[in-house]
Point group: C3
């Protein structure tokens, strides 16, 4: 599990960076505390919601201090390299963010299944693990939550989570299943940004 653990920490750091940068973009939040606060909630929000829903205690960032340390490092990196992130690194950050969202979805569904939840709930909890930090981040800085953006976001997580849960049930090799389902989420998300895909709108 060492590899997945490292990926989980990297994803946490990436979310902390994206939260801190969001705070920096808004005048009212851009002191040290505001950046840390938004970065912290962005990084832990999704996993915390999932763990509270399935009753997994103690929360992972309470049990293992590495998470808080990684978040502090992420916020520090966001501050030190803030000009770089805003310009040159915008594109790589988007890529890592997308990869992180895909990974958090599947790790979240995996953890939910390990707690014995039903397949429907596993799919929803995978999605919640991935998106809830971003919902908190966008709500705190008064942006429209990215999950309601024109492009496909949360639905990509749902698709990948459905694939993963189904793959488990037909006995697919776990590593292959992980790679494919994270790949599906990343691909749908990146393609929908590239080609402007969106869900059908319901007209009244």
């Amino acid at each position: 599990m060492t590899f997945l653990y490292i990926l989980d920490l990297v994803g946490t750091g990436v979310f902390a960076i994206s939260g801190a940068l969001s705070a920096l973009n808004k005048k009212i939040y851009h002191d040290l505390f505001g950046m840390f606060f938004v970065g912290f909630l962005t990084a832990i929000g999704g996993g915390t919601m999932r763990d509270i829903a399935i009753g997994a205690h103690p929360l992972v960032w309470i049990r293992d201090s590495s998470y808080i340390i990684v978040i502090l490092l992420g916020v520090a990196l966001a501050i030190l390299l803030r000009k770089l992130w805003m310009n040159t690194l915008r594109r790589p950050l988007l890529f890592f963010d997308t990869l992180g969202v895909g990974l958090f979805t599947i790790l979240g569904a995996q953890k939910a299944i390990a707690f014995g939840v039903n397949a429907w709930a596993a799919v929803l909890l995978g999605m919640i693990s991935a998106i809830f930090g971003g919902v908190l981040r966008d709500t705190l800085v008064n942006d429209l939550p990215i999950i309601f953006s024109k492009e496909i976001y949360a639905t990509a997580c749902l698709a990948g989570a459905v694939f993963y849960v189904f793959g488990r049930q037909i006995g697919m090799d776990p590593a292959l299943n992980l790679i494919l389902s994270v790949g599906i989420i990343t691909a749908i998300r990146l393609l929908s940004i590239r080609y402007g895909w969106s869900l059908p709108r319901i007209e009244v």
Copy 2:
């Protein structure tokens, strides 16, 4: 308990419909995902808050997949019959919503008592079970939460819950107690809409 279980599922479906229709009314949310997301949170919000507060794990929609399926059905019904709901069915929906709120209050208080909470907390948790989904729905679509509307809403839940908890303590017949206390909530709510009742305002 089969009858109460069916009522609980029906109430869940009604809340999902009301959430999905609220999303449909707001431009930014009216794709398939937005309607499902708001419908889902409206339907599970109150019960989830109550269960987290009393430490009841796993949450009911995680243990029993019927709830998620009913929510999907509710959202589908909201979409398919959207013209009907907006026009002809507005009034029946309000009636069922009111009945659902009354029912959720008393079922919530009942569950809280079964977990051994004190009488004050049982009343509050009954009210939270009934209103929190609507608070999430209205907050997500940026409406003023209905609990702060001019008419009496949450206070009706408090009144019914106080009656129910008191009725239990004096040993009233459970079925009669349920019917009377749900009736009190529904009656106060519908009469306050009909006659424009409101709580005394506190002037500074």
Copy 3:
């Protein structure tokens, strides 16, 4: 522990007063239910978040009805003396609020440590215990959350919590540690208001 228990109840009442007065200041909330609702969430918000995060069940206000009764008393006092609070008592209320925040921080960190959390998490959970009620209050009445005010607020809690956790680890006398760390929070907060201290802002 009787003394700490009384302090905890007093802090709860003070938070209920500050929540109810915030509601009174906003037109849409100033009926009886609005004042109680905001007062209740302000008073229980921080401790509830902490207890949910560490998995402490049942929540303290569910186990011990004194908390709800104290909140009802606080809201009643806010209503009866509303003219006094708004004018003559504004300054004493600020002082008690500051003392309450300091106390809730250290009691929160203490409880988190008793549940075996790591030192980093204890500091964060101490801060969350103290500030989250105020965040809920300000969000409900659409004020900018006080933790993002120009003056130092949450950072004072962090400083006091770091001192307290460190003091425990070097074996400082518990009573002295409590007094000193609450004193640090109160002093930083009051001095930052008096002299307009603020954290360095990060410029893009």
